[in-house]
């Protein structure tokens, strides 16, 4: 066959191979005509992905499909591309999904979603933290169900702390600064953040929202206008500015959480705020140089106590879906105790069901679960609105300027306030 290998034959064989591959897929396609075909839009692992998209609960997932005469296909995208893919799909009227992952975008895409979560069984709803519905509830209708308890908490290198004589995590802002200062030196920094991207949950603005709530402030008043240009807003930003002296200076250029996580995992920083998935990553020898040295704790308290933000990872159902009931059933499967337990044991993403969080096996495998539960007793508002991205870019950009010393905290807050007022007014 290869005796006569030339360009023409190469093209011919290539085309034949392509056709063969395509036909193989055609003949072996597992969907039966009577099956309901569900299309799920979700993030790529290691971000929170469901069974079948991530490596967990595979047998249970296959059984669910067989039992429910349904076939599930996943469209997986990198987390940073999810929002834009959804936006273009909805704007062009060609969103092909039944179930859609959402992360703080429910208010923005509300008109394309069905309020299916009102129909979730009572035993499921009763086993979820009531506050988990806050970011997916609009006009008293529940458009989604959060499937992982994902709050920012403090992760720290226990060995670094012990070397400088510190026994436990910082409890308040004063200790936070003192610890950061103490831990900085010898090519290492006390803290690392990802301040490079101002936008979205996990962006620069959302870190400021953490400090804002710890300072006793909030983003919006009852009239939905911004109310953060006050002492709490300025104190929150000033705290971030003060911490910069002992923060990895690269933080201002790290555009996503993985950039900052890598610094902590390489032992070049001692503390960071991160999501619960970090626990497994930090204890994986293939990814971490600090295996067995990481602990987590509730975030240090500000004048108003501790506070965090919510990752708001939720499953929603498309209003245009022709299989809304089946889609809801699939989400119920994702939320079932067995799947939730495998989710945390195999991927590190905590469950949202309180009964699973209390499971001894889960607590042994994910000691940070108790910390996140404790953090959840305190405020964790992510202040999501239909224009969340625009607002966080406006605020995050001002925060970045203050962190770089281009503006005072007070000036940055005043400018951020003006920008958000303009955005909210334009929203109408």
């Amino acid at each position: 066959m290869f005796d006569s290998l030339n360009r023409r034959n190469l093209l011919k064989y290539g085309a034949a191979t392509g056709v063969g591959a395509a036909m193989a897929g055609f003949w072996t396609r597992p969907v039966r005509a009577a099956d309901a075909a569900l299309n799920v839009f979700c993030p790529l692992p290691p971000d929170p992905a469901p069974p079948g998209a991530a490596e967990f609960a595979k047998e249970a997932f296959a059984k669910w499909q067989a039992d429910h005469a349904a076939s599930v296909t996943y469209e997986k995208l990198g987390w940073s591309q999810l929002h834009d893919r959804m936006a273009t799909a909805f704007a062009s009227g060609s969103a092909p999904w039944d179930i859609i992952y959402n992360c703080g975008w429910v208010p923005e895409f509300q008109s394309f979603l069905a309020p299916y979560a009102d129909q979730l069984p009572k035993d499921v709803v009763d086993d979820l933290p009531p506050s988990s519905f806050k970011t997916v509830t609009i006009d008293a209708k529940r458009y989604g169900a959060v499937f992982t308890l994902s709050l920012l908490t403090l992760f720290y290198n226990r060995e670094h702390l012990e070397k400088v004589g510190l026994k436990e995590a910082p409890k308040d802002w004063a200790e936070f600064k003192a610890y950061a200062k103490e831990l900085t030196g010898g090519g290492r920094y006390g803290l690392v953040f990802n301040y490079g991207d101002p936008a979205g949950i996990g962006g620069t603005a959302s870190y400021w929202m953490v400090f804002l709530q710890q300072a006793g402030g909030k983003m919006y008043g009852e009239d939905r206008m911004p109310v953060f240009n006050n002492a709490a807003g300025v104190d929150a930003l000033q705290m971030m500015v003060d911490l910069m002296a002992w923060t990895d200076p690269g933080s201002i250029s790290y555009a996503n959480i993985n950039d900052a996580t890598n610094v902590l995992l390489s032992g070049r920083a001692s503390m960071m705020m991160n999501w619960p998935f970090m626990w497994n990553t930090a204890n994986d020898p293939n990814q971490s140089q600090i295996v067995g040295k990481v602990s987590s704790a509730v975030l240090p308290a500000g004048p108003a106590g501790t506070a965090s933000i919510d990752g708001t990872d939720a499953w929603t159902v498309a209003k245009a879906s022709k299989n809304q009931d089946k889609a809801r059933e699939l989400i119920e499967f994702y939320l079932s105790p067995e799947v939730q337990k495998r989710q945390v044991l195999d991927t590190g993403w905590l469950p949202i069901r309180l009964s699973v969080l209390a499971d001894p096996e889960v607590q042994a495998k994910a000691p940070n679960a108790a910390v996140v539960l404790e953090q959840a007793k305190h405020p964790y508002d992510s202040f999501v609105t239909p224009d969340y991205n625009e607002v966080t870019v406006a605020v995050g950009t001002q925060v970045q300027q203050a962190l770089q010393g281009q503006k005072t905290a007070a000036q940055a807050m005043a400018d951020a306030h003006d920008a958000v007022v303009a955005i909210v007014k334009r929203r109408g």
Partner: protein
């Protein structure tokens, strides 16, 4: 009506190219017109559909008072001017080296083309690792050579971040322009150099009075193409800085993307995109004018 041969020939030609023209109109014309119409509307995602309301020139008026747009425009202008200057000068230098007998090896040309051949996003990711403030190879090399004492945050300050984006884009753009200029250099008749030599011209005078005038057309084309490409830079900003820190590296193309897809302000995003389109069209027109065949008398 009697058709002459020439008329029949022209009509047949028109019929043959009509499908192609229609296809081009559909592929190019529709998005352009649609984008222009979008820029005259306020577009919102409401009630499971996209609602449009005509706002006239309001989106373009908003541009005039939008500080971020002007920052992006200034950044883009700086980026374009510096990129064209650097790429043109470096490429000309490389082309001259490649034409030299010692540099006339195909190995050098293959090596030269590598940065240009790397996929844009892969190129950006590569540089993201090189420039990483904590474990980037640039810091590693400079520290080990004693050039710097501690790791620098190359993408951390507004000036540095914008200029590193520039350097990365220059690195990627130089190969193509260098090869373009090499082709131009090889077209300069050797007899001109011999005549200049006979007239007593040295290497520098030959370069100034023979090489450069002979390459005027190629240089103009390279400058125009590079200007158009510099207006389109997006992937580097998206991967390396996301427009930060503090909007210091927001270029117009990135701003159009951010407003359209992140903020879902499709009308205003289209207005920004149309400004870029108008600028590109102007420069492209200049390009076509330069390439248009000249009649012997110099008329076009």
């Amino acid at each position: 009506m009697i058709w002459t041969f020439e008329q029949r020939r022209r009509r047949a030609g028109l019929l043959f190219v009509a499908p192609g023209l229609l296809l081009l109109a559909a592929i190019l014309g529709f998005p352009i017109v649609d984008s222009l119409l979008l820029s005259l509307q306020r577009v919102q995602l409401t009630g499971d559909q996209v609602s449009h309301s005509w706002v006239g020139l309001a989106n373009f008026e908003r541009l005039a008072t939008d500080a971020v747009f002007w920052k992006a425009a200034f950044n883009t202008a700086y980026f374009a001017v510096m990129e064209v200057l650097l790429v043109s000068l470096i490429s000309l230098g490389i082309a001259l080296l490649l034409r030299h007998p010692m540099g006339n090896s195909s190995l050098f040309r293959i090596m030269l083309i590598v940065p240009w051949a790397i996929a844009p996003v892969a190129n950006a990711v590569l540089w993201k690792w090189i420039l990483n403030a904590n474990y980037g190879i640039l810091n590693g090399i400079l520290v080990s050579l004693g050039v710097i004492d501690f790791n620098h945050v190359w993408l951390g300050s507004p000036f540095s971040a914008l200029n590193f984006l520039l350097i990365v884009d220059v690195w990627k753009s130089v190969p193509f322009v260098a090869l373009l200029m090499l082709a131009g250099l090889q077209r300069v008749p050797q007899s001109l150099y011999r005549a200049a030599y006979m007239d007593g011209a040295g290497p520098f005078q030959s370069f100034m009075h023979v090489t450069l005038p002979s390459m005027r057309g190629i240089l103009a084309i390279a400058i125009i193409l590079q200007t158009i490409w510099s207006l389109r830079v997006f992937d580097l900003v998206f991967v390396l800085t996301r427009g930060g820190p503090a909007d210091a590296t927001v270029l117009m193309n990135f701003l159009a993307y951010r407003v359209t897809f992140n903020f879902l302000d499709l009308g205003y995003g289209s207005a920004i995109a149309n400004v870029i389109f108008a600028l590109t069209l102007l420069i492209a027109a200049l390009y076509v004018w330069l390439l248009w065949p000249r009649e012997p008398g110099g008329r076009r």
